[in-house]
């Protein structure tokens, strides 16, 4: 017996990829928007290796309307995978109706058809000229697709957190992400990450 989605208060998001992709920054901005500006209960955690670049990196945000006991994700509602390794490693933590968003520049093999592929790194490199802002494009897409945070507040939190002088670039990247996400229709996706035979 799985609880109905409407009464599932806890909402869990994981931003994953490799160290240096800015996933922790994205998660912190998300948590700040949902927690400080939207007034929800949030817990933001992360885990990473001892190295500064490379290695596996993941950052999580748990949202709830009531105080959060266990601070880490248990059963993901949304997984952002910014490379193939992260996608393969964390896909199985998604719940059956969870949503997988991948960076299609770096993820080539999709584990499910319930997936939103957006070429975050490609857009950042080719259109915005800085590969570094792929995380902000992804943040825009996650913000739009999860329906758990006000986009205005997310943008406000973003402008507060990014280094001075880079606001415009990051804002542009963020809006580009929202734009890309608007093109995706969640209704067209399969309802579950399980294969269709399982669902019948």
């Amino acid at each position: 017996m799985r609880p109905m989605k409407a009464i599932r208060q806890r909402y869990e998001i994981r931003f994953s990829g490799s160290g240096g992709q800015g996933l922790i920054t994205a998660a912190v901005i998300f948590a700040e928007a949902a927690g400080v500006y939207d007034g929800k209960f949030v817990c933001q955690t992360q885990s990473y290796g001892p190295e500064a670049r490379g290695g596996r990196s993941k950052a999580e945000v748990v949202l709830s309307d009531s105080p959060i006991d266990y601070p880490k994700a248990l059963n993901l509602d949304l997984l952002l995978a910014m490379n193939q390794v992260a996608c393969d490693a964390y896909f199985f933590d998604l719940n059956a109706s969870g949503l997988l968003i991948v960076d299609s520049t770096l993820v080539e093999q999709y584990p499910t058809s319930r997936i939103i592929p957006i070429p975050f790194t490609g857009i950042a490199r080719d259109e915005l000229g800085r590969e570094m802002v792929a995380n902000m494009i992804a943040l825009g897409a996650v913000g739009h697709l999860c329906h758990r945070v006000t986009l205005e507040n997310l943008e406000k939190a973003l402008l507060n957190r990014v280094p001075k002088g880079t606001e415009k670039l990051n804002q542009e990247a963020f809006r580009r992400g929202v734009e890309e996400a608007e093109k995706c229709n969640l209704q067209d996706l399969p309802r579950s990450i399980l294969t269709e035979t399982d669902e019948v």
């Binding site: 927690g35 400080v36 007034g39 001892p50």
Partner: protein
């Protein structure tokens, strides 16, 4: 500045909350050496202390850091240092000095996987017994454990208060999960926070006996430079602060050192209860693991198991008076820890056959999940 943050909703890390707690409690001196996962405390205080007229010093190592905060405290300034396991090992010698010279100070140990340099980015609770017995000799000490961002703020304030009140070093044990989790908190109004300061001597300088306990057993403390000339030593000393080997004086000193803490038990020992009233099985947990335990207890209740939780905030002196009733009431008690069983030892010591004590230990660098505890709980 901290006064600008009152009543504001903030997204803070556990480490940042510790730093703000220290500022709120009146800490005006910090000496430390950076180490993962405690560095954020130094970073924030390096930026904030000068704004409130305080001093931040990055020392050459943790031995010197501990020495510096003892010096600052003797000069009358509330002081703190923060480190993780490897640095905490280095602090033990000077920590003993702070115990015997009765110098109030706060040491934050953000625990990471050990021994040695171990697992720098992974959580652990491996330093619990070390916090109690790390420095040699029988010594009084207070060890507190924090489990959330909100806790990190209020427990740091409490740590400073206890330290000043009893003239004893207080150790705050945090861990990688608490330290790096960001949560929304609202800092309380600064003037509503209860702050305790050490009692300064009221007698004329000629009458001052620096190590004569008052009725609580705590000597009044003059700062260097106040005009109260006195001697501070790591040797066992008489009431005037000079070394002694006379049996009666040594005995009196040792007893006073222990008894000042024993008399303060009601104020020092802090716990939290969750669904314990009618519990038949209970979890005794502390630090970040207590958060997993809250969820596990809730889930077990839904399934029909009468479970409860006793969260320890004060680890040492061990909360015997709160743990004993739980052991008497419950048929079994689960003690989950991210070590091989350091508090479960204390629970077993207090237990004396009253209940069944079951350990649950995890030492692979991962955080204990609610599911693990739930599975254990419903089996009890």
């Amino acid at each position: 500045m901290i006064s600008d943050l009152e009543n504001k909703r903030l997204l803070l890390q556990g480490n940042e909350a510790v730093a703000y707690g220290a500022l709120a409690a009146g800490c005006r001196f910090f000496a430390g050496y950076p180490i993962t996962p405690a560095t954020e405390i130094s970073e924030l205080l390096a930026a904030e202390l000068p704004k409130v007229g305080g001093t931040f010093a990055q020392m050459e190592d943790e031995i010197a850091s501990m020495g510096a905060i003892i010096g600052a405290s003797l000069a009358g300034v509330k002081s703190m240092t923060a480190t993780s396991g490897p640095g905490f090992s280095l602090m033990q010698e000077n920590l003993g000095y702070a115990c015997v010279a009765e110098v109030p100070c706060v040491i934050v140990n953000v625990m990471r996987g050990g021994p040695s340099t171990g697992l720098p980015t992974c959580p652990s609770q491996g330093d619990v017994q070390m916090a109690r017995w790390g420095t040699h000799g029988d010594h009084p000490i207070i060890v507190l454990a924090t489990s959330s961002v909100e806790d990190s703020f209020s427990i740091t304030v409490k740590a400073f208060n206890l330290s000043e009140q009893f003239r004893v070093p207080v150790i705050i044990l945090s861990d990688e999960v608490v330290a790096h989790t960001r949560e929304c908190v609202q800092l309380p109004e600064l003037k509503r926070i209860r702050i305790v300061d050490r009692i300064r001597p009221s007698v004329p300088p000629d009458w001052y006996k620096p190590y004569e306990g008052d009725n609580r057993g705590v000597p009044h403390m003059a700062a260097f430079g106040d005009g109260y000339r006195h001697h501070v030593t790591g040797l066992i000393h008489d009431e005037h602060g000079f070394p002694t080997q006379k049996e009666n004086e040594v005995l009196h000193f040792q007893n006073r050192l222990t008894q000042k803490i024993t008399r303060g038990f009601p104020e020092i020992m802090m716990t939290r209860n969750f669904m314990l009233e009618d519990a038949e099985v209970a979890v005794i947990a502390y630090g970040s693991v207590a958060r997993s335990a809250y969820k596990a207890v809730e889930d077990a209740r839904k399934q029909g198991t009468k479970a409860g939780l006793l969260q320890l905030i004060t680890l040492f002196p061990f909360c015997r008076s709160q743990v004993t009733p739980v052991l008497e009431q419950c048929r079994a008690v689960l003690v989950p820890e991210m070590n091989m069983g350091q508090i479960s030892r204390e629970v077993q010591r207090v237990n004396q056959g009253k209940s069944i004590v079951v350990k649950h230990n995890r030492i692979d660098g991962n955080f204990i999940t609610p599911q693990e505890l739930y599975t254990q709980l419903v089996k009890l």
